[in-house]
């Protein structure tokens, strides 16, 4: 019986990927591409082994063939990953080498002998589809899955792989200040069209200040109204965030935006439309005029 492999090439979702991998009941081998600090963090997620591959000098995508050959030798029971771009390239080659099917939006994996059972979210999270295959399955984990419980850290092993691609890094460009803050923020306040007017953004800033939070927005506030820089937008076509708290102010909950915030541990929605899709995704909500709720919320936080 092979172990479950997890491929980690980003910092945002390693814990939830590990959570799904460990819940399968199998031993978990972690393969981390990137800085040592990332590998050391993954080593605390209760995995059986951690192997790190340096991807500083050459893009990790070049290792895909060699990594897939290793998978063919060791025959993992399943391979789990987030939807990070580098991890998906590596997993695609593993799937091809193992002749394995792939599933996305996966929330659980189970094994019964050679049979692998996978549960995936479907129909915009309205249902859970149960899928089966004989042998390994490559699984892209759904956003927002529970985190792995931390355990005593494992020793990180350094690994090497050969690159089959003619890649050379020309330059790395840092993001705008807004995006950098969003990626690491513990709390984020989001604003959508329901805020009504540009002058109401001051209320959002006050809430963000009270929460010590970063501010993000939906795509229309950037593209159509030009109230925010593009680096402040969260959604499918921009960036994903995974703060502990996300407060959506006047955000209806378009799929494009929700895909970017589902990694948040607690989602709060404030909107005057009780039928807004955001209320199907949130843990807590207030149905009301956002311009009346926000000052009260700031006051309540400051008095807490």
């Amino acid at each position: 019986m092979g172990n479950v492999w997890m491929i980690i090439a980003d910092d945002l979702s390693a814990s939830s990927v590990a959570g799904v991998a460990r819940a399968s009941g199998r031993e978990v081998d972690a393969f981390v591409f990137g800085p040592a600090a990332r590998a050391e963090q993954v080593a605390r997620y209760g995995v059986s082994s951690v192997t790190r591959f340096d991807a500083e000098a050459a893009p990790a995508e070049g290792f895909a063939k060699d990594f897939a050959h290793r998978a063919l030798e060791e025959r993992p029971a399943a391979v789990v990953l987030s939807d990070d771009a580098t991890a998906r390239v590596l997993a695609g080659f593993v799937a091809a080498e193992l002749h394995a099917p792939v599933a996305t939006s996966v929330v659980s994996i189970a094994f019964d002998g050679e049979k692998t059972t996978v549960e995936q979210m479907v129909a915009e999270d309205a249902g859970v589809q149960v899928l089966e295959a004989t042998g390994p399955v490559v699984c892209v984990v759904a956003d927002g899955c529970p985190d792995a419980e931390e355990a005593a850290p494992m020793t990180v092993q350094e690994g090497t792989l050969d690159s089959f691609a003619s890649f050379g890094v020309v330059s790395n460009e840092a993001a705008g200040a807004g995006a950098t803050g969003l990626a690491t923020a513990e709390r984020v306040v989001g604003v959508g069209l329901g805020i009504g007017a540009k002058e109401n953004l001051a209320m959002v800033d006050e809430l963000a200040s009270a929460l010590d939070a970063a501010v993000t927005c939906t795509l229309p506030l950037c593209d159509n109204y030009h109230w925010f820089e593009h680096s402040s937008v969260v959604g499918t076509s921009t960036q994903k965030i995974s703060p502990r708290l996300y407060v959506a102010c006047g955000v209806s909950g378009a799929p494009q935006h929700l895909a970017g915030v589902r990694g948040a541990k607690v989602i709060v929605a404030i909107n005057n439309d009780p039928d807004a899709p955001i209320f199907r995704e949130c843990a807590y909500g207030i149905v009301g005029d956002v311009t009346k709720v926000l000052p009260s919320l700031v006051e309540a936080i400051e008095n807490a």
């Binding site: 980003d10 893009p59 995508e61 895909a64 063939k65 939807d83 771009a85 580098t86 998906r88 390239v89 799937a95 792939v102 599933a103 996305t104 059972t117 996978v118 979210m121 479907v122 129909a123 915009e124 309205a126 249902g127 859970v128 589809q129 149960v130 899928l131 089966e132 295959a133 490559v138 691609a165 003619s166 890649f167 050379g168 890094v169 020309v170 330059s171 790395n172 460009e173 840092a174 950098t180 990626a183 593009h230 499918t236 076509s237 895909a259 541990k265 209320f279 199907r280 949130c282 807590y284 909500g285 207030i286 149905v287 009301g288 005029d289 709720v293 009260s296 919320l297 006051e299 309540a300």
Partner: protein, 240 residues
């Protein structure tokens, strides 16, 4: 250089519903134009402004999308169910790419609708792959590919055949006009049969409702009371 720009290849998951009988039903029966498809064609053109761009699609119906944006001809892949699994779609696309003489670049939307298909396509072709690509610039006999990386971007020099998963940050600024589309419909369209034999697949054994999400919604008619209730709840969650 001959480039293949893939468009209209994935079903839109927003059309997926759970029917009254508990089974999945779709509001559409064919792939749709994806948000990234226009940029896939643009990047193929940018890679070699003097080269040939071949449009490749899984769809039926109007197949002039790439031709209207500069592709010289279009190939449609026929015979594959619209709801085929990513391994099948990627296998069919890989086979169709192999049939394009001299193709050394494939551009495809790095679609959230089917996030594994681009890398599977690359793996089946045996070509390197980069995803989340913003743009390309030709440089001598290579390409400098700029892609999203971490919280910023990274530029990578690549040479040789490659699959690029292109991710648009914005909607298409200037869509082709009706005259351009009508002219594009006169460009050559070829057909190829989807070859997916032996593709690994998952079988569906059931569907059930997700665990109820614990959601607490407060009435904001009394904003102060609602705010106080929310703050108390967030403190108990440990996020304040």
């Amino acid at each position: 250089m001959t480039s293949v720009a893939i468009f209209k290849w994935a079903m839109n998951p927003h059309d997926e519903r759970i029917g009254a009988n508990g089974a999945i039903k779709w509001l559409a029966n064919r792939p749709e134009i994806g948000d990234d498809d226009y940029l896939a064609v643009q990047v193929a053109k940018d890679a070699d402004p003097n080269g040939e761009v071949v449009g490749l699609t899984m769809a039926s119906g109007d197949t002039a999308f790439a031709a209207a944006r500069g592709a010289e001809r279009t190939v449609t892949v026929e015979g594959l169910d619209a709801f085929a699994q990513p391994t099948q779609v990627a296998a069919a696309l890989a086979n169709a790419v192999r049939e394009v003489d001299g193709a050394s670049l494939v551009t495809i939307g790095d679609s959230a609708w089917s996030p594994m298909t681009p890398s599977l396509l690359a793996a089946y072709l045996g070509w390197p792959c980069l995803l989340a690509v913003d743009s390309v610039v030709p440089e001598d006999d290579a390409l400098v590919v700029t892609r999203r990386y971490g919280t910023g971007t990274q530029s990578v020099r690549v040479s040789g055949p490659i699959v690029l998963g292109v991710a648009a940050r914005r909607e298409e600024a200037e869509k082709p006009g009706m005259r351009t589309v009508l002219q594009a419909r006169k460009k050559p369209v070829g057909k190829t049969h989807a070859a997916t034999e032996g593709s690994p697949q998952l079988s569906v054994s059931g569907i059930h409702e997700p665990d109820a999400r614990p959601s607490k919604v407060f009435d904001g008619a009394d904003a102060s009371a609602a705010a106080a209730q929310l703050v108390a709840a967030l403190k108990s969650e440990g996020v304040l």
